[in-house]
């Protein structure tokens, strides 16, 4: 039993501990961003549930604006599909991009509806409508907060993956591709989504 064997043993010990540590950290960070995505999911679902009610209320006043209403419904359904695809594998580049663009389209459609509504003071004064718009705005804010949290976690995961020792091990451990941020296309339109006065 010489120095050689002992050194060998020592190196193995250090390496094993190190590799385990990297593996665990990768798993932890991935879990965190997946968790963060489920927060977005909750808020987006709430938002998608509100929209049919909004349309139902608006219908009576906007008989001549069928096209706008249908566009909102179509965009909403598209976004629902995008969300359920994205929820299956959060961080996947393709589904994230899909959800992002579906959200962008929905935001635009809602923005147009908002513009149309300006011409109907009765509708704007409708108690139910006011409440719905308010809830929609508040969900909007929640979504953006949850999205920020998710993007922060994804960035932390990606950064860790790209630093030196983990970069060698990430792919063999099944952490190959970077997780994808969730960006909503056309932010401006979303900011314009139903404005509510307090």
């Amino acid at each position: 039993m010489g120095f050689g064997t002992l050194t060998f043993l020592g190196i193995i010990v250090v390496l094993v501990v190190w590799v385990i540590a990297i593996y665990n950290k990768l798993v932890t960070l991935k879990n965190r961003y997946v968790n963060a995505f489920s927060q977005i999911e909750v808020q987006l679902k709430r938002r998608y549930d509100l929209i049919p009610n909004l349309i139902e209320t608006a219908k009576g006043y906007l008989a001549h604006e069928r096209g706008t209403l249908e566009a909102v419904i179509a965009a909403r359904n598209q976004a629902v599909a995008g969300l359920s695809a994205a929820a299956k594998d959060p961080g996947d580049a393709r589904t994230m991009a899909q959800l992002g663009s579906a959200e962008g389209v929905l935001g635009n459609a809602l923005g147009r509806l908002n513009v149309v509504m300006e011409a109907y003071p009765d509708l704007k004064a409708n108690q139910n409508m006011m409440q719905l718009s308010e809830e929609l705005t508040s969900t909007e804010n929640r979504v953006s907060f949850a999205r920020q949290s998710y993007n922060d976690q994804v960035t932390e995961y990606n950064t860790y993956k790209q630093t030196f020792p983990p970069v060698l091990l990430a792919a063999p451990f099944g952490h190959g591709p970077n997780a994808s941020l969730l960006e909503f296309e056309d932010h401006a339109a979303i900011q314009e989504a139903p404005k509510v006065k307090f």
């Binding site: 010990v13 501990v17 907060f145 922060d152």
Partner: protein
């Protein structure tokens, strides 16, 4: 059960643990040395001729030291690694087992029911509401982990959610809370780290074996000893596992009975926990976990998580029938075959009238109540939550609006400083302040503190940058009027202490016992009692009377401090020292504080202060008896 004695016992158990660990380490060193001698004997012809005994005898002292050193480095390295990995507290264990935090605002009925149960129990026992995690497993099991109540998390399996009804959940969660309150969970975390060191040798053995087997094809003359060494280390590793399991069993088993008993006391419903145990017995997967890493944490769970060879000797938990009989002596021996619980809305339990804190509480009752919630505390907590405006409760369950809620609680009353402050906050949050303000205006201090506690799990879902921003905003709001008022101080204590534990690692980990009794800390005690007396009244005579009552209860010669402490700096300094008191010296201090607070019928701000002080001293106070 006495909270302080339990804390003390958990501390002394730590020593017992260290001794057992040391014995295991010495055993492992001897075994490894012997093994190396055998390997040498087989690898040299001289050794084979002279026999193993001869080689052992011939082995030089240098080699002995060498091997001993190597084994120690191995064990220490692995233990330290785990120790550091677990430094982030309860969260680290859950994440190790792949747990996911349940969304605090969840609308899934089974999850909502669980969160409500946990919320009620946390409020009842005076700790902040812990984050709740789930792991997908088919066995019915649960655990609580954390160094203290600040970094505590609760985790249940998906089967638990599916098969246990509200009462049974209460039983299980009550059991877990008892572990948290008694300092068991802190001991459990240390145990994981120590055991990792012992188990590690086995892992190295497995690796060597694999390496040796791979090079075996070349008929390398060096491969043979490597394989023998690998097998040997593996055997030693198993011996290590064996020792480890014995240690776990020794430390863990008795406590399970205590936790079961505490759960019954807490819920006043032996049926709840007994039926939960019977359902474990009646379910095909029992309380078994399939996650291979569950072994490391098996001593933390509600039920036996891993079945072992020689189970009766090494089981971390007493057998189910024994546990059930301890709760229900007349049990007929029949388990309950599990059927999923119907998805019914979790209605708040029927609360007859609004429970008011018992006004007859004495300071002795307060001391007894620390960390020792009763069924009355639970009813009181349920009533408190039921009395909160539903919109506020919903707001506290969502990270975004929970911030708005807490900002609202901290905003000063005068318009000028409000305007300045709202400029600092994010505009979207500001837009929501008036709405929350409308509902919140009528709440008393205790209700506000309840909301603060309920907001914590939602705030834990923030990312680190969001947390940094939040803390900066809260501190700005507290400092805004250049004066910290009492409620702000308590809120800072309750909220930031636990969020800090979550995001920056537990604070309780560094607390060591530095003072065995109160005699050396007269000044600090005087500061604390004076702060309570001053909070109670503006009249000096009344303050002096309250102070004198505290002094009489604490039996120390103390000097009243009359001058104001506008930023609570003196109180903070005093509490930092007092926190490091030996657990058995704390009841006297709490008694003094309670006596001081109870003179002249405590106002709500005095109660809040008492709760804040108790929380800082790591003595959770059930709100019903606090006052």
């Amino acid at each position: 059960m006495d909270f302080f004695a339990a804390q003390d016992r958990a501390r002394r158990k730590t020593w017992q643990l260290v001794v057992l660990f040391a014995i295991a380490v010495i055993g492992l060193i001897l075994a490894t040395n012997l093994l190396v001698a055998i390997v040498v004997a087989f690898s040299t012809t001289a050794g084979v001729a002279g026999g193993v005994g001869q080689t052992v005898h011939d082995q030089s002292a240098e080699t002995w030291w060498f091997i001993t050193f190597a084994v120690l480095v191995c064990i220490a390295g692995a233990s330290l690694y785990k120790y550091f990995a677990l430094r982030s507290g309860g969260r680290a264990v859950v994440e190790m087992l792949g747990g996911r935090q349940i969304d605090p605002g969840t609308q899934v009925l089974a999850e909502r029911r669980l969160l409500n149960v946990v919320e009620e129990m946390a409020i009842a026992s005076g700790i902040r509401v812990p984050a709740v995690y789930r792991i997908d497993e088919s066995g019915i099991n649960a655990f609580a982990a954390g160094f203290g109540t600040d970094d505590a998390v609760v985790c249940v399996t998906s089967a638990t959610l599916e098969y246990l009804n509200r009462e049974e959940l209460q039983g299980v969660i009550g059991h877990e809370f008892s572990h948290l309150l008694n300092g068991d969970s802190r001991l459990n975390l240390r145990l994981i780290a120590l055991l990792n060191g012992i188990l590690f040798i086995g892992i190295v053995g497995r690796l060597l074996l694999r390496g040796g087997a791979n090079s075996g094809g070349r008929r390398d003359s060096n491969a043979m000893p490597l394989i023998v060494l690998g097998v040997g280390l593996l055997v030693i590793g198993y011996a290590g596992t064996f020792c480890g399991n014995l240690i776990k069993a020794a430390v863990s088993r008795q406590r399970e009975f205590l936790a079961d008993a505490a759960s019954v006391q807490f819920t006043r419903n032996p049926g709840g926990i007994a039926n939960a145990l019977k359902k474990i017995g009646g379910s095909a997967s029992g309380s078994h976990l399939s996650n291979t890493r569950a072994n490391e944490a098996s001593h933390m769970f509600f039920g036996q998580a891993v079945t072992l060879f020689m189970n009766s000797l090494m089981a971390t938990h007493p057998p189910l029938p024994v546990r059930i009989r301890a709760i229900e002596p007349r049990w007929d021996g029949k388990f309950i075959a599990g059927a999923p619980v119907a998805d019914t809305e979790d209605l708040p339990p029927g609360v007859a009238g609004f429970a008011r804190p018992s006004s007859s509480a004495t300071h002795d009752a307060v001391v007894d109540a620390v960390g020792n919630p009763t069924a009355a505390s639970l009813t009181h907590a349920q009533a408190t939550i039921a009395g909160l405006p539903p919109r506020c409760v919903d707001a506290s369950h969502d990270a975004w609006s929970a911030r708005a809620l807490l900002y609202t609680l901290l905003l000063p009353d005068d318009r000028a400083s409000r305007a300045v402050l709202t400029d600092v906050l994010e505009p979207q949050v500001v837009a929501h302040l008036p709405e929350i303000e409308r509902v919140i205006g009528t709440l008393d201090d205790m209700q506000r503190l309840t909301l603060v506690s309920m907001s914590v799990p939602a705030l834990m879902t923030m990312s680190r940058p969001q947390y940094d921003r939040f803390v900066a905003d809260v501190v700005a709001l507290i400092r805004a009027d250049r004066r910290i008022d009492l409620f702000e101080w308590v809120m800072h204590r309750l909220l930031l202490k636990s969020l800090k534990s979550h995001f920056e690692g537990p604070t309780s980990i560094a607390t060591r016992v530095q003072h065995r009794n109160l005699d050396a800390l007269r000044d600090q005690v005087a500061q604390t009692l004076s702060a309570i007396a001053r909070a109670g009244s503006n009249d000096v005579q009344t303050q002096l009377r309250a102070f004198a009552a505290g002094v009489a209860a604490i039996e120390l010669d103390l000097q009243f401090v009359a001058d104001d402490d506008p930023n609570f700096t003196r109180l903070n300094d005093a509490l930092r020292e007092l926190r490091a008191l030996h657990p058995l010296a704390k009841p006297r201090l709490i008694k003094g504080c309670a006596a001081c607070a109870l003179t002249d019928g405590p106002t709500s701000s005095v109660r809040a202060l008492l709760i804040g002080i108790a929380a800082t001293l790591d003595c959770p106070l059930p709100p019903d008896l606090a006052l």
